[in-house]
C-alpha cells in the first residue's frame, strides 16, 4: 500500500523546520513517528502536499533531568520513555503509560510529540503528564511559547497549536513534596487496543507522614479531551488518606466523567469503571508517595 504523493522535507535543525512549516502553513504536515500520520494518509483522511520529517533533527531526541525538571524531547519514542531510568525514577506513571501504548512495534516508532499533537481522547501519554502539569514547548520562526498540557487540548484531534508551530519538548517540574503516582488503562484486549477508560492519579503529601496536600486526577476516553476530575481533587485536598476517602473520590470522579456509549462499552460501564480505577490508582499512588 503506497502513500498518496507528496513533497518530502528533511530539515536538520528546528529553525529550518520552523521556516518550512511557516512558509507552507496548512499545506504541510509534520512527520514524527508516523504511526498516526501515515495511517491517516493511507486511509486518505488527509493528503498533505508536503511532509516535513523531524527524524534528522538531533536536538529533538533524548530524555534529560536538569534543574529539578525532566525534559522529554519531541521525538522520544514510547519505547524509550518506558525504558528510561530517569522517567521510571521520577515520573513512574508516565513510564507505565508509555509501556502500554499500542504494541512493542508501535512503541518503537510512536513519539511523545505525535501522541500529544494527534490529540486522541484515548491517547495514553496525556493523562499522567497533565497530572504533573507538564508543559509543551511550541516553537515557530518568530518565537516560542510554553503551554500547560491542561490548556493544550481543545477537542477530538484538536489542540491550541497553529500550523506554523513545532512541538519541540515536554517539560515536567519534579514535585518538591513527597509524591506518588499511578496510571491505569482499561481496554478490552491486552495489546493494540484503544482504552475504554484511562486514569492517572498523582498525590502530593504535606510531609512524609502528612495529610494529602494536593491530588490530581486525569481521566482519558470519557470526554472529547482528557479531563481533570476536579470535584474528586477537591474531595482529597487537605484530607488524611483512607480507603473511605478514596471511595468518595472515586464516586466524585465518576460524576465528573462524561462518557459515551459505543461498541467498546456502554457509558454506564465506563462511568462505573472510572470510580473503581480512580480508587485503585489513588491507593497505589499513596503507596508510592509514602515509600519515596
Amino acid at each position: 500500500m503506497l502513500l498518496p504523493k507528496f513533497e518530502y522535507h528533511e530539515p536538520k535543525t528546528v529553525q529550518e523546520a520552523c521556516r518550512i512549516v511557516g512558509e507552507l502553513g496548512e499545506k504541510a504536515k509534520v512527520l514524527s513517528g508516523g504511526t498516526d500520520l501515515l495511517v491517516n494518509m493511507k486511509k486518505k483522511l488527509i493528503q498533505p502536499e508536503h511532509v516535513v520529517s523531524l527524524s534528522k533533527i538531533e536536538d529533538l531526541k533524548g530524555i534529560f533531568r536538569e534543574n529539578g525538571q525532566v525534559k522529554i524531547g519531541a521525538c522520544a519514542t514510547a519505547g524509550e520513555i518506558a525504558g528510561s531510568e530517569v522517567i521510571k525514577d521520577t515520573l513512574a506513571d508516565v513510564a507505565e503509560a508509555a509501556s502500554v501504548l499500542g504494541s512493542p512495534l508501535i512503541r518503537n516508532l510512536a513519539t511523545i510529540a505525535g501522541n500529544m499533537t494527534s490529540a486522541r481522547p484515548a491517547a495514553d501519554l496525556p493523562p499522567s503528564l497533565m497530572a504533573y502539569g507538564a508543559k509543551a514547548k511550541l516553537v515557530k520562526a518568530s518565537g516560542e511559547r510554553s503551554v500547560d498540557l491542561n490548556d493544550f487540548f481543545t477537542g477530538v484531534g484538536k489542540t491550541v497549536m497553529t500550523p506554523d508551530e513545532i512541538l519541540t519538548e515536554i517539560a515536567v517540574e519534579i514535585p518538591q513534596e513527597p509524591y506518588g503516582d499511578h496510571y491505569i488503562k482499561l481496554g478490552v484486549r491486552q495489546a493494540l487496543e484503544i482504552s475504554l477508560v484511562n486514569v492517572a492519579a498523582l498525590i502530593l503529601l504535606d510531609g512524609p507522614e502528612g495529610p494529602i496536600k494536593e491530588a490530581r486526577i486525569v481521566l482519558g476516553s470519557v470526554a472529547p479531551t482528557p479531563i481533570r476530575a476536579l470535584s474528586a481533587e477537591t474531595v482529597l485536598a487537605g484530607q488524611v488518606p483512607s480507603d473511605v476517602l478514596f471511595e468518595r473520590a472515586g464516586e466524585a470522579a465518576a460524576n465528573d466523567s462524561k462518557p459515551i456509549d459505543d461498541f467498546r462499552g456502554s457509558a454506564e460501564y465506563r462511568r462505573d469503571m472510572v470510580g473503581v480505577l480512580t480508587k485503585r490508582a489513588l491507593k497505589t499512588a499513596l503507596d508510592r508517595a509514602t515509600s519515596r
Binding site: G34, T35, S103
Partner: protein, 162 residues
Amino acid sequence: MDTYSVIPIRFTLNGDKVSIEAGAHETALTVIRERLSLKGTKEGCGMGECGACTILVDGKSVNACLMAAPQLEGRTVMTVEGLGREGKLHPLQEAFLEHHGVQCGFCTPGLLMSAQSLILETPRPTHKQVVEAISGNLCRCTGYQQIVDAIQYGADKTGGEE
C-alpha cells in the same frame, strides 16, 4: 504527477550496503519487498495492526508499513532473510519448525523478527516477556501457544550457541 522528487537512500540491509532511489510516497515495506524483492516481509493490514511487516531497524522491531522510505536513510535494517544463512537455519527458525509454530506461515517472518528483537535485549525471556514481545503480531492459525513455546526454546538454543 511526476514532479515529485525522488530521494536517494542508503542503508545497511542484512549486512550489505544498499543504495536506492525511492519516491517519498513509498514505505520501507514497499522498498524492501517490491524494489529489493525480499519477499519474506509481508503486507497484511498496511496499518500497523498485524505485524506481518515486522523488520528490525537498529535492532528494534517496527512495522515497516508505517515507515516512510526516506526514514531508512543511514539505518541498519534486518529482515527475516538476514536471520539464517544459506543451508543453515537460525535456532529460532528451527524451533518454529520443531514446535509447530508455523501453519500457513504468513505471520512467521514477522514473529521471527519480534522474537529476534526480544532475545537481542533479553537472551532468556520468561513466558510473560515472550507473550508481551509478540503482542503486535497476529497469527490466525496457531493459537500462539506453539509460537510462544518455539520462541522460548529457540532463545535457549541461541544462547547456547554463543
